[in-house]
Symmetry: D3
Subunit: 132 residues, 6 copies
C-alpha cells in the first residue's frame, strides 16, 4: 500500500473532501483514484497539485486529448507504471483510439532512440536550430 | 564536433546521398542537419533510422503536428539539448504556435512532477486502471 | 527472485558473513535485507558497496537523517521501487516524520517539474550562477 | 537564447512584474534569473510555478537549507545544468558549505549506483519494507 | 495484461505470423515472448522493430554476446523490469556467465554514480577529450 | 569551471597526489583529467571513487575494452556529455574502432526505444524470463 496509506472520502477532512468533490465534478466521475488518496495526507500538496493539473489540462491552445496523450508520452518515457495506467485510461476517455495509442508509442520509442544517438555521437546543434 | 565528424553531401557515398536526397525531398528543404551527417558514418544506421522516422512521423491516426509535439515532449523530458532545438524547429514548421509550445511544456513539467510523487508515495495502481 | 538468487547467512562464506555482521552491527539490526543477499554472489562488489555506503552515510557535515532523505529523494526521482521502500524505512528509523516525508516529496516533485521546464525552454545559465 | 526569449522587467506586463516583485522580495535580491524571464511568456505558468515553489520551499518540517540541498540532489541526479548551477547558488546562500556539498554529491552518486544494482539484480522488496 | 492485450500465433494475421516465424527461426526457439505479442496490434511497428533489432543484434564488429550485454546494461540503467528479465535471459543464452553478469552490473552501477558526480560538480570537458 | 574548482597536481596535498600518481601509473598517462581534479576537494570521495573504478575496470570475466564500451553505453544512455567524451576516448584507447562505436550506439539507441515500448504497452514479464 502507499507509504502513508490512502484516505477514503468518509475519513477525509472537509478540506480534502472539497478537493475530492472538485476532482469528481471536473472529471464527471464518482470515484477518486489512489494518487489523490495518497496525497491527501498532505492537504497543501493535494490542493496545489490538483489546482495545477486542473489548470494545465483544461483545453486551450491544445485540446484535452492532445494534452492527455502528451502526459502519457512523458509517463511512458519515464517508465512510471501507475502514470501509464492512469493516463492511458484518461486518454482513452478523451478519445484516444488504439491506432492513436500505437502511433503515440511509436513516436515515444523513436524519440528515446534518437535522443541517445544524438548524445552518443556528440552532435552539435546546427546554427539554424539555435534561437536567435 | 561530433565523435566521428560530419559527412557533407559532397563527400558522401552514393548510398548516403540517396538518404540525404530523400530527407530533403520529404521535408521540403535544401539542407541536411548535423544528426544525419553524424550518423552517415554508419550507412546502415543512417538508412534504418531515417526509414523508421519517415514511417513513424507520417500523418496517420495522429497528424504531423501532434507527432512533432510528442517528439518534443519526450526530448524535453529527457533533457536532450540537440533534440529540443531540432524538434522545436520542426514542430513550429508543422504549425506549433508559442501558445501551444507553452501549454506543451506545462504538461511535460506536470507529468514529470506527478510521476515522481506517485513513485515516492508508492501508490498502487487502481483496479479500474488495470488492463483486463 | 533475484537474478542470481539470495545468499542467506547460513549459506554464506566467511567473507560474506563478515560483511553481513558489520552491516547488522553498524545498523543495530539482526537481519540483512535482500539487496545485500543478492550482491553476495559477487563478494568484491558486496564488500566495496557496503564499505562505500558505510563511509558515505556516516554523519559528517550532514547528519544521518539528512543523508537518508537525500538518498530517498534520488531514489524517488529515479523511480526505483526497492530503493524507495528501503530508504523510506531507513529515513523513518533515522527520524523522518510523515510531515518531513511529505515536504521531501513536494520538493522532489517540484524539482523534476522545473528541471524539464528549464530544458524545454532552453534557458541559458545566468552569468551570476556560473562558477568563477 | 531561450526558445521564446527572455522578458526583462521593463518590458513585462503588470501581472508579470507583480511576480517578479514577489520573487525579489521573497528572496531578498534585486534581480530575476533567466528561468523566470523565459517562463514569463506564459504568465499563467509563471504565476503557478512561482506560487508552488514559494509554498514548497518555505521552511516547515524541513528547513530551507535541507530543501535547497534536496532540490540540488534531484537536479544533479537528473543532470540538468541550469538547475545544478542555480540551486548550488541557492543552497550556498542558504548555508551549504563546501563540505556539505561534497557529502551531498557523494550520497547522490551512491544512490544512483545502488538504484541500478538493485534493478539489474532484480531484487525483490523485503517484506519488512512493505507498507502495511 | 498489456494495454492492447497479446496476440497469440493462432489469432495472428498472416503478416504478423511471418514476423513471429522469423523471430523463432532467427533465435532458434519455438515460442514468442510477450513484447512481440503486444506490439502485434500495430503490425507496422512490429515489423519495423523486429527488422531493426535483427539487423542491429547480428554479429558484426561486436559479437552477439557483447551486444546482448550492452542491451542489458542500458536496460538496467533505465530500470526497465521487463527488459532486464528478457535480456538477462538472452545474454545468458549467448554465453554470459554469472561472473560476467556481476562485472557488467558493477560497471553499470559505477557509470551511474560517476555520471552524477561529474554533473553535480559541473566538471568541464577536458580539451584532450574534445573531438577535433 | 567546476563548482569547487580544480586542484592541480602542484597544489594538491600528499594524499591527493598519491591518488593522482596511481591514476597516471595505472593508465599509463602523464596527465589527470578534470573529473579527478574536481573530486580532489573531497579527498575521501576521490580516494574511494578511484579505488572503486580501478577495481571494477580491471580485466576479469570481461576484458577492458568490453568494460569501457559498457561504461560508454550507460553514459550515452544517460546523456552525460563529460562522461561520453571521456569514455569514448578511453574506449578508443582500449581498442574500440569506429565500426565498434557505431554498433555500440545502434544497440544503445535500440535498447532505449524498446525499453519505452515495453513500458508504454504495459507488457508483463513472461513466465520463462522470471528467475526461479
Amino acid at each position: 500500500m502507499a507509504t502513508l496509506g490512502l484516505i477514503e472520502y468518509e475519513a477525509a477532512s472537509a478540506g480534502v473532501r472539497a478537493v475530492y468533490d472538485d476532482i469528481m465534478a471536473t472529471r464527471g466521475t464518482d470515484w477518486i483514484n489512489n494518487f489523490w488518496k495518497a496525497l491527501a495526507h498532505d492537504p497543501a500538496t493535494l490542493q496545489r497539485t490538483w489546482a495545477s493539473i486542473k489548470e494545465i489540462m483544461r483545453p486551450g491552445a491544445l485540446d484535452a486529448l492532445t494534452k492527455e496523450m502528451i502526459y502519457l508520452a512523458v509517463s511512458a518515457s519515464n517508465q512510471c507504471p501507475y502514470c501509464i495506467a492512469s493516463h492511458t485510461a484518461a486518454a482513452r476517455k478523451a478519445g484516444m483510439t488504439d491506432a492513436m495509442f500505437a502511433e503515440l508509442m511509436a513516436v515515444v520509442g523513436m524519440a528515446n532512440e534518437t535522443n541517445r544517438l544524438v548524445s552518443g555521437y556528440q552532435v552539435e546543434v546546427d546554427e539554424r536550430f539555435k534561437c536567435k
